[in-house]
Symmetry: C2
Subunit: 245 residues, 2 copies
């Protein structure tokens, strides 16, 4: 089985007046594949970085200075988990744990910051429905954000919104090839899809749309559990509290 | 740009008498690609699950019962980070943080457990050199293990060993498309490669070898920094200590 991941062409600068779903649909119609074919088909997974989703939803706010940025982070946070110097790891109202509540000053106009979408699963559902109307194909949609990790250096892209995808694969109760019962394994499939897509997206964020082909068995007709299913409940999390200097 | 990820055929049961590199080389010669071609070429990244590497290195030990398993985990650990019930999150002698020190009782003979390779970067270097000899191609090699994460549900594959690959991409000092200086971003590329490969590997571990094609710019002639470059130094880690019940 071969998986293919390809980046769609640049969709231009996005703002609250952009019709993001139409722009994505146009870009998808022109993607190219290793076998020489082009366009998308049912069973493909469309991966979109959260930045363009946020911009299309008007989640860009003025931010004059570092003090204002700290207040904006406060307003996006429900809990402080850890702090070192000017870096704060917080829990957002979505339940996501990440630096600066995802408040991002890169690739946006000077004097502004971009906030995460208010409800990324809802954003994914809306884009998925729009793509079905525009293209007539049953696709999955994943919205990603770039996050650090405990213990490991560097950032990876993770799924913060999803629709039409089995975002987790629960292997509990199945058996390994020796016949041994698998007791605990749940695979964070949507996060691995997000990371695969990040490998083809340009680092300057000018290619915010990618497509993953070959995981048709994970693409489902209903909206499904969304990426919120990937958030570990706080009471099951052994690392909910970090160090505060 | 299109990335392709494909799983090689089953390489059979691996033990300390197996010639793992030869078996991988044979399997690689037969992989199929979306464009109808087969085999591997310089610039491809070969991803191997740690379980078969461990088995080929004799890292399988007898384990009669739960008490013995706990003693084995102790011997693989340098530090306890968190504990809940029978689950222990520890730091291994490699600096990896994961449940049960990676001591794994799945897909191994009853009454045995599999330990992680002693030095996974060295394992990757050895396999890479062997593949160059066997196949005449300059490949990268990544050795993966399946790990949980703080805050997020489910496991993903991560790179624990690597050779011939830029395992991290350090964007610090570069500029985003608005010209803004990027101050902090380091991308954990090898972990995203590991996750992409996991999407095509069969869940029963009978397809432990995958190939990622299309990231030639990350494949380097020297062994490079290895996957140990992905371990966050303890003194920079805000979540080194969890909760102990």
């Amino acid at each position: 089985m071969t998986l293919q991941v390809t980046a769609a062409a640049d969709i231009g600068d996005i703002s609250a007046t952009s019709d993001l779903t139409s722009l994505i649909a146009q870009a998808l119609a022109a993607v190219h594949w290793a076998d020489g074919s082009s366009g998308i088909r049912s069973g493909d997974i469309v991966v979109v970085t959260s930045k363009v989703v946020s911009k299309s939803e008007g989640r860009v706010v003025a931010c004059a200075d570092a003090a204002e940025r700290e207040r904006i982070i406060d307003s996006e946070s429900v809990r402080l988990l850890a702090r070192r110097g000017s870096t704060r790891i917080v829990e957002t109202h979505h339940g996501l744990v990440l630096a600066a509540a995802g408040v991002d000053e890169s690739n946006t106009d000077s004097g502004t910051v971009v906030l995460l979408p208010l409800d990324p699963d809802e954003s994914a559902r809306r884009i998925r429905a729009g793509l079905l109307t525009a293209l007539g194909e049953q696709l999955a949609v994943v919205i990603t954000d770039t996050m650090g990790r405990a213990w490991r250096l560097g950032v990876t892209d993770q799924a913060i919104g999803a629709a039409g995808l089995r975002t987790i694969e629960d292997l509990r109760g199945t058996r390994d090839h020796t016949g041994r019962l698998i007791e605990r394994t749940i695979i964070a499939t949507a996060d691995q899809v997000a990371g695969a897509a990040a490998l083809v997206g340009a680092k300057d964020s000018r290619r915010p749309v990618s497509v993953v082909r070959g995981l048709d068995s994970l693409v489902i007709p209903e909206d499904g559990p969304g990426a919120s299913a990937l958030i570990r409940p706080a009471d099951e999390d052994m690392f909910r509290y970090g160090t505060i200097d």
